[in-house]
């Protein structure tokens, strides 16, 4: 209570003070100031008014002074003025009447406009009604369509469900199929395994059989030897001589295969193929080197002695125009040359001379490479007309044309089974052909134009424009290895054992690559040896101890592999760049062909 009273005290004090303040400061002056401001405004107004009157007065005085001069004229003037004023007013009046008329006119027009607008409004309303109707109709349609859509969706849903169910069934069936296939595969593999075992067993039996027979034979021979008959050894020698002669003539290891059945004396049954081959080899090697059996390791294999050529036995015009390719047949008896005149010509080498034997025609462009099959019965030539062709040597007939490349074919080779061919082309692909079905089995993209190809059992080696030698696995399509040289690779050749690869490249270097270590073993060059073209071919001698290569200036160089030096330079007979060189398998001859039309047969005689 006391507090409240205290509160009241200060509060009352403040309001009282405020009241007092207002009394002194506000109310005392409010009225005065208000009145003062009014007076001030009034006086301002007065000033303004008085100023205006002043000017009026001045004007009137001036007018008065002007007219006071002529009193008589004044009334007249006044009258005149009046008349003028009346006229003026009348004019004004007519003007106004006119205006009124105009206004009335505009009123009518506006009325018309209003009526028009009313009409428009009515028509618009009618239209609106119409549209309303349309809207309701459309809404009805909409509803129907929506219902229809719902139905469709429902149908779609059911279909989807069914589809899902089918999908599930399908996947289950697929799973089953997969399992069945797996089973099948397993069964097949088991079956294969069984087969293999069976084959092994058969081989073993065969071997046993053959051994038994051999033992028997030996025993018989021994028995026979014991018998003192002088004629028998002679017979034996004759058989051996016949055998050796044949072996010397045709060095191909596959020869016995191609002519097996009729040929040999103690041939094992054909079941153990490999065994039989090794048998034959063993036998043959033993036969041909019977004089020095400790020398079986020599690289020359079954070939006769190699003679380094020193003289041109026969210089002859081989083709009309450039001669690109030359190759001896496996028997060394035939020489094939191919030229830009689209022919492959066969020459028989008789007593140091080449007798024309026949021409193989059918190519539509220049021949780039020639190869005989290992039996010497087929001849394969690659051509600039994008195809490779096969002729039979005996009757000169064209057997197959292998088309499919989209660029000129620069090299084509038989694989070792003689049933497949590999060709390399300017179109940067390699193709594998099967001769039985005559189709292209594989095409691999090498990435660069292929200049030459050689093959071993499983590996194809290709020399390329981009300076690389590529190694391919026949079964896979992939590059196994690559080896980069310093120049475009023009030529590849293998020695007899297929352990060394000879390369020639545009940097004028010839190299031997050891295929087992996959490294360059030796490099050959010579002062003046220049590689004349991208398809300049060089060759190993049959025993692999020499190399022959032709230079751009027409000189034939023979290198000795053992010394690594040039053994011979034969630069007198060719007049233009040598394109290709071939060494006869017998070792006795070398043939070279040149950019002109000549071919030369060399020997040491």
């Amino acid at each position: 209570m006391a507090e409240r009273r205290v509160e009241c005290t200060w509060k009352r004090h403040i309001s009282e003070q405020l009241k007092l303040r207002d009394q002194v400061q506000r109310q005392a002056f409010e009225e005065i100031i208000h009145q003062y401001n009014r007076l001030l405004e009034k006086s301002d107004l007065q000033t303004v008014l008085s100023e205006r009157y002043q000017t009026d007065k001045y004007d009137v005085q001036r007018g008065h002074e002007a007219s006071s001069g002529a009193d008589s004229n004044r009334s007249e003037a006044l009258q005149q003025e009046m008349a003028q004023m009346r006229i003026k007013h009348q004019e004004e009046l007519t003007e106004l009447h006119k205006k009124r008329g105009e206004l009335a006119q505009s009123v009518i027009e506006l009325n018309n406009q209003i009526q028009q607008k009313d009409k428009e409004i009515q028509s618009n309303e009618a239209k609106m009604l119409e549209y309303q109707q349309q809207i309701t109709n459309l809404e009805g349609d909409c509803r129907e369509l929506r219902n229809y859509l719902q139905d469709l969706e429902r149908a779609n849903q059911t279909l989807k469900d069914e589809y899902d169910a089918l999908q599930i069934t399908f996947s289950a069936l697929e799973e089953k199929l997969r399992k069945t296939t797996e089973d099948n595969q397993e069964l097949v593999s088991r079956w294969m395994a069984e087969k293999a075992q069976e084959a092994n067993r058969l081989n073993a039996e065969n071997e046993k059989d053959s051994r038994r027979r051999q033992a028997k034979l030996q025993k018989e021979l021994a028995d026979a030897a014991k018998e003192p008959l002088p004629i028998d050894p002679d017979d034996d020698i004759e058989v051996l001589a016949e055998d050796g002669g044949k072996g010397g003539g045709e060095t191909s290891p596959n020869r016995p295969l191609s002519r097996t059945p009729s040929k040999k004396i103690s041939q094992p049954p054909p079941g153990g193929l490999l065994d039989s081959i090794s048998n034959i080899f063993g036998r043959r090697t033993a036969n041909s080197f019977s004089t020095s059996p400790e020398n079986t390791e020599a690289p020359s294999g079954g070939c006769a002695e190699v003679r380094v050529p020193s003289t041109a036995l026969h210089v002859f015009e081989a083709h009309d125009g450039e001669v690109n390719a030359v190759r001896f047949s496996p028997g060394s008896r035939l020489l094939a040359t191919g030229g830009m005149d689209r022919r492959v010509k066969l020459w028989e080498v008789v007593a140091g001379h080449c007798e024309p034997k026949g021409a193989l025609t059918g190519s539509n462009a220049g021949i780039t490479s020639i190869e005989f099959d290992s039996a010497g019965s087929y001849l394969l030539a690659a051509s600039n007309d994008f195809a490779s062709r096969i002729w039979t040597v005996d009757d000169y007939r064209l057997r197959h044309t292998l088309t499919g490349h989209s660029g000129k074919v620069l090299s084509a080779r038989f694989l070792l089974d003689n049933a497949r061919i590999v060709s390399g082309s300017y179109d940067r692909t390699l193709k594998l052909w099967d001769l039985r079905s005559k189709v292209c089995m594989k095409t691999v993209f090498a990435g660069s134009s292929c200049n030459d190809i050689v093959c071993t059992e499983q590996c194809v080696m290709s020399g390329h424009f981009d300076k690389k030698v590529r190694f391919w696995d026949i079964r896979a399509e992939s590059i196994v290895r690559e080896l980069e040289l310093l120049g475009r690779v023009t030529s590849l050749d293998l020695n007899h054992d297929r352990t060394e690869l000879l390369t020639c490249s545009r940097d004028d270097l010839i190299k031997i690559i050891d295929l087992r270590t996959n490294s360059i073993r030796q490099t050959f060059s010579a002062q003046g040896f220049k590689c004349g073209a991208d398809w300049t071919r060089v060759t190993f001698s049959p025993d692999g101890c020499y190399l022959a290569g032709g230079s751009a200036d027409g000189a034939l160089y023979i290198w000795n592999v053992l010394t690594g030096k040039v053994d011979k330079t034969l630069d007198r007979n060719h007049n233009s760049a040598i394109n290709s060189v071939s060494w006869s398998p017998s070792g006795a001859y070398v043939a070279s062909v040149e950019k002109g039309s000549k071919a030369i047969l060399w020997s040491d005689m």
């Binding site: 309001s15 400061q25 506000r26 005065i32």
Partner: protein
Amino acid sequence: MADDKDVLRDVWFGRIPTCFTLNQDEVTEREAEPYYLLLPRVSYLTLVTDKVKKHFLKVMKAEDVEEMWFEYEGTPLKWHYPIGVLFDLHASNTVLPWSITVHFKSFPDSDLLHCPSNSVIEAHFMSSIKEADALKHKSQVVNDMQKKDHKQLWMGLQNDKFDQFWAMNRKLMEYPTEEGGFRYIPFRIYQTMSDRPFIQKQFRPVSPEGNVHTLGSLLKEMYPAAIPSDGEQKRYQVMIHGIEPLLETPLQWLSEHLSHPDNFLHICIIPTPTD
């Protein structure tokens, strides 16, 4: 509370009779009449003197007119102080009406701020309100207001609309009941004889012991000389809105009711007149 409303109303409608006379150095075409006006205490000089300007421009050549400023007995009047503060500080206990000299030349740049338009006053006014609310509520209230609410406060002051102003200002005066007042009381203590323009510090409405702070306790803290010791002659007057509240008046109540529209409690301490 009816009394409180009356106090607010009285504070708002406080007027000072003023006589504006043109400085004699001004070049005029004819003699300038003095102009009398009741100035609202809570407003700003440049906001309410359009009429004065118009009145004197009538007698002056347009080329002689520069920015208008006011002066009282040699002291340039700061337009950014409320009119009531200017009067209490410089002219209380003098004869009414308050006689202000009007200048149109030689603007005292060192003493006064330029005031080219009302938007400058508005900016000043709003910044004061925001500062006060920062002290009172950590700016929460003013930040919650919308742009149009700010505008309403300003338009209320500009057009002298008490109800329009207080409809919005009421929110700024609220506080949570459990705290018994604002965080700090926004106040400024002005003195005539001081280099400092004014004293402004943080001061809570309630002491840490829970006692209510009064005007007396504020002065004791800020300006002890203003409180007369026992038996001594009163040396200073403590003026708020032209009155001297009792020293036991609670500070919170003063802040709520006797603050200017800029939400500050402007206190003038002036020497007691000798006569």
